[in-house]
């Protein structure tokens, strides 16, 4: 049977990993070439999908379906809708630029590339799966390679603790969600793991509101751990800080989006009444994310911790957008996932470039680096400005939508969340100032700027941020076609619940 482009996006990194097992580990050049090809192909395919996706027809497109375990209603079933096509593109960008950034890795390159490609394949799987079993399988597959990636190639100081904490937190979240998924399966009248079939079955015959109220938190908090929802966020800044740059890029850029994606994709449409009950609480937690993350980031001296806490703060906006349960909020949330992913990847790549040469990430130790590494300095400043919400960058458009959504749904949350912008501006601009401006620390006069080849990933990421920032409608049309059906289900349920 012929596989469509979505399957190839997902298979390319996995095939690459399998190929790498057979390549001798001395052949570093070949290892890198294979890794770049295995992530380049998905990027090209993802770009072609984003242009060819038909938002009028909406729904899942390029669907592949192979019966896998018929007796349990498990199918290999992949495809992309308006939301996943955007996130697949985000992941493809982060994965490909991550491989280019990883060219700096010189130790045990082959093992690194294998784990890295497995991680990438797992994430593509999560974004494209239409079957809950495979969704979970890929989800765990995306989490586990983080352990060796951080444990072996991470920064020595805190990697042991950070990588174990990250793996255990994420697995704990995953198994909690698994219990929820299995319960949904046993309660469903259709006995299938197929997301579409389950959604239709629960539309025709909704679960009792009390059951939904009980089950929703399993998925909400289970997947919320990776989102990372306050107070389950503490694994995340640590993990960012300890991970090698390319892994931080993927981790903050894409992995954290899996949580909000899963809530949006599975929890909301399958348990709409539960969502209506629980999401106001999520709005509160999201505000905690935004403010707590923001304030903690302000106190950080380490560049990676600044971005790490900033990420958990900004993921609060995504959760807030989802909690709005309105078109504008959901669209903003998905667009922000995209924009924030590209932005953090850019920031972590820049920090990694400096760290690899200075071996310190303490901002006050850097000082005046812009004169030594002007390109990297500009890239970092671009990321900082994007993060602070400068118009012209994609983040601005996305955060604005979330604010509009929050203003309609939870006015208090919108008011609280606005302060997050202030903190972001504070810590991001301060990071740029202390790290890259001011008098040059004489220790760093030997620092090398990016070579033309090394500039490629930065240029790609900045271009994406600007293009989407100037023309957000390009992605929003697609996103809208994906969030629309979810909202319809929610609206039907709220009509059913409210007298």
């Amino acid at each position: 049977m012929m596989l469509g482009p979505v399957s190839w996006i997902l298979l390319a990194p996995l095939i690459g990993a399998a190929l790498l097992v057979c390549v001798p580990s001395e052949q570093v050049r070949w290892v890198r070439r294979i890794a770049a090809t295995a992530t380049g192909i998905p990027l090209l395919l993802a770009l072609s999908l984003i242009f060819r996706y038909d938002p009028v027809a909406a729904g899942y497109q390029w669907v592949d379906r192979i019966p896998w375990i018929p007796s349990f209603g498990i199918d290999y079933h992949v495809g992309v809708d308006g939301i996943s096509v955007v996130l697949v593109l985000l992941h493809a960008f982060c994965a490909f630029t991550g491989v280019l950034v990883s060219y700096r890795i010189s130790q045990r390159v082959k093992e690194y590339a294998i784990f890295y490609l497995l991680l990438i394949g797992g994430v593509f799987g999560v974004f494209t799966s239409m079957d809950l079993f495979f969704f979970y399988l890929f989800y765990e597959m995306a989490v586990i390679p983080m352990f060796p990636l951080i444990g072996i190639w991470g920064s020595k100081k805190d990697r042991d603790y950070a990588t174990m904490k990250l793996t255990l937190y994420l697995t704990a979240g995953a198994v909690m969600a698994l219990i929820g998924l299995l319960t949904l399966y046993t309660l469903s009248p259709v006995k299938t793991f197929d997301l579409i079939a389950l959604r239709e079955a629960f539309l025709r015959q909704p679960l009792p509101p009390a059951t939904q109220w009980f089950l929703f938190p399993f998925l909400l908090f289970g997947f919320g751990v990776i989102a990372p929802m306050w107070p389950f966020h503490s694994w995340s800044p640590l993990g960012h800080a300890a991970a090698p740059s390319a892994v931080s890029m993927l981790h903050a850029g894409v992995l954290m989006k899996l949580g909000s994606y899963a809530i949006l994709r599975i929890a909301l449409p399958l348990m709409p009444a539960g969502a209506v009950d629980w999401l106001p609480w999520v709005a509160g937690l999201a505000c905690m994310n935004i403010l707590y993350g923001g304030f903690v980031a302000m106190a950080q001296k380490d560049a990676k911790f600044v971005i790490g806490y900033s990420s958990s703060s900004h993921m609060g906006y995504v959760l807030l957008g989802i909690a709005c349960l309105s078109a504008i909020g959901l669209n903003g949330a998905v667009l922000l996932m995209f924009a924030h992913g590209i932005m953090t990847a850019l920031a972590f790549a820049a920090v990694g470039h400096v760290y690899d040469q200075t071996h310190t990430r303490i901002l006050s130790d850097w000082g005046g680096l812009i004169r030594q590494v002007p390109f990297i300095g500009v890239a970092f400043a671009a990321a900082a400005l994007a993060s602070a919400g400068l118009p012209g960058f994609a983040n601005f458009a996305a955060e604005l939508l979330v604010f509009f959504g929050a203003w309609e749904s939870y006015r208090w949350a919108a008011v609280a969340a606005v302060f997050g912008i202030v903190t972001t501006a504070f810590y991001m601009l301060r990071a740029v100032r202390t790290g890259f401006y001011g008098p040059l620390n004489p220790k760093w006069t030997g620092l090398k700027d990016a070579t033309p080849f090394e500039k490629i990933p930065y240029l790609i990421l900045i271009t994406v941020l600007l293009v989407v920032g100037c023309w957000p409608q390009s992605l929003l049309t697609l996103i809208q076609s994906g969030t629309g059906p979810i909202l319809e289900i929610i609206q039907q349920a709220s009509v059913g619940v409210l007298p």
Binding site: M164, T167, L168, A172, L182
Partner: protein, 482 residues
């Protein structure tokens, strides 16, 4: 299917057992005749013989169930499924024994013999149609293991052997005592007739309940479950590695075939009495095994605890008391066989070169032998239940069966224990991959072990990715009970 090849009914059901008995005789005589090079030749005979037995077992798949020897021996799909697992375990154990230096010094012939007698006991356990047959078969397993466990004749091994002997004898006594009550209340020792009597409405008898719990205790001992799990860590640490490998896969599977035969097939009408107990014990076993494994520094002792945890997971399937639970147990056992055998193959290869079973000596294994480290990594992840490996789908089915049976808390414990087990398994991974080796010399892997490891890896990945065939086989075997 093929009319030209008609298997005569009756004794043909016993073909694998007869072949195995013949093999035992051959090894026994061979051990006496070939003094000098006994090890190599006998292991060749044992492997070839077991492979032949494996084919005979496979040939019985899909044949109609039948009973021979006046109800003593039942040939059905469930028995065949288990015999497949036993054969794989025995075959691997023989190959592991061949590579264990401490055993080679002591003479291997007898050890092969013991592996085979234990295997025969397991085969008969899976096929027992009568309480007496069941008892005799179980004793055959246990007595073989008494000798295997203390084979080293050094303090630790003897201590382990003695511990296993004393506790095992008590368990056998309990079992026999329990059987007496079952026989007394139902008036028959034949399992099929007994099932008819119990289904006929004999569920209130307190004597039957007493018998049930005595039998249950013995099953819990066999499969190292709470509250009879204490022997496992000591025995695992002290006994020779092949004995441990066989104990952890073969003996555990044998315990569960008895559990399926007695609790699910026979005593399910009394489920109201024993299911709550098993639910509790299952959760306790999972926690005891996985929490106990955390502080261990000896790899075999750690496996002693982790194997308790796996026993607890398997009990989930019993506690579910359903077709799905049985299917899950069968899948899990097959997946567990490949996975645990892979782990013990690595332990054997490692200790053959380094002479150590301490976890800290595994430091930097990924540089000393990338192959061994990668295989151990796969095995550990599969044991923890990480997709896309076989162990994941086994746990998935077991937890699904618990949710399906309404044991939400038990499912939760099972899920949380995945996280706990991941901690200590990943600590080993970290030692192998991230730590610096004290001695960077390479660790060679003997060819037979290498081949077996590839087979186990194929099993772990194959069963984890393409689950359908095994799911269907497990369903066919579970159908026997329902």
């Amino acid at each position: 299917m093929n009319p030209g090849f008609v298997i005569p009914t009756g004794w043909s059901a016993l073909l694998p057992e007869l072949a195995l008995t013949g093999l035992i005789g051959l090894i026994l005589i061979g051990d006496v005749l070939l003094k000098e090079e006994a090890g190599k030749i006998l292991s060749g005979i044992a492997v070839a013989g077991l492979a032949a037995v494996g084919f005979l077992v496979a040939a019985q798949w899909d044949q109609p169930a039948r009973t021979v020897l006046a109800g003593m021996f039942r040939m059905d799909m469930l028995a065949v499924f288990f015999k497949g697992i036993f054969t794989i375990a025995a075959l691997t154990t023989v190959l592991i024994a061949r590579q264990t230096p401490a055993l080679i010094r002591r003479g291997l012939g007898e050890f092969y013999l013991l592996i085979l007698t234990a295997t025969l006991g397991m085969f008969l356990t899976a096929s027992a149609g009568n309480l007496l047959m069941l008892f005799v078969a179980l004793e055959m397993i246990t007595i073989s293991f008494y000798v295997m466990v203390s084979y080293h004749q050094e303090e630790r091994s003897l201590e382990a052997g003695l511990k296993y002997l004393v506790l095992g004898s008590i368990a056998s006594g309990l079992f026999l005592y329990g059987l007496a009550f079952l026989f007394g209340t139902t008036g028959t020792a034949d399992l099929t007739e007994m099932a008819a009597v119990i289904q006929g409405g004999l569920t209130e008898s307190p004597m039957l309940v007493l018998g049930l719990f005595l039998v249950l205790s013995s099953i819990l001992f066999k499969s190292a479950c709470v509250p009879f799990q204490l022997w496992a860590p000591d025995v695992y640490q002290g006994a020779p590695t092949p004995a441990v490998a066989f104990l952890s896969v073969g003996s555990k599977a044998a315990g569960f075939v008895v559990a399926l035969r007695l609790l699910i097939e026979l005593l399910l009408p009394l489920g109201g009495v024993w299911i709550p107990v098993v639910v509790f014990l299952s959760g306790a076993t999972i926690l005891a095994g996985n929490l106990g494994a955390i502080p261990q520094s000896n790899i075999k002792r750690l496996f002693g605890y982790s194997t308790i945890g796996h026993g607890g997971y398997l009990l989930i399937g019993i506690a579910a008391g359903s077709f799905l639970g049985t299917q899950a147990i069968l899948f899990y056992l097959a997946a567990y066989a490949f996975t645990n055998l892979a782990a013990f193959l690595v332990i054997t290869a490692f200790s053959k070169t380094t002479g150590s079973d301490e976890i800290r000596d595994y430091a930097g294994l990924s540089r000393r032998s990338p192959f061994l480290a990668a295989m151990f990594f796969l095995a550990l992840l599969s044991l923890a239940g990480v997709p896309p490996l076989a162990g994941f789908f086994g746990k998935f089915l077991l937890i699904l069966s618990a949710v399906d049976a309404g044991h939400g808390v038990l499912a939760g414990i099972g899920a949380i224990a995945v996280v706990i087990s991941l901690y200590y398994y990943l600590m080993i991974v970290k030692t192998m991959y991230a730590d610096e080796p004290a001695d960077p010399s390479p660790v060679p892997v003997p060819t037979t072990l290498r081949i077996m490891l590839w087979i186990c890896a194929a099993g772990m990945l194959g069963l984890g990715l393409i689950q359908k065939p095994l799911v269907n086989w497990a369903a066919a075997a579970a159908q026997t009970l329902f």
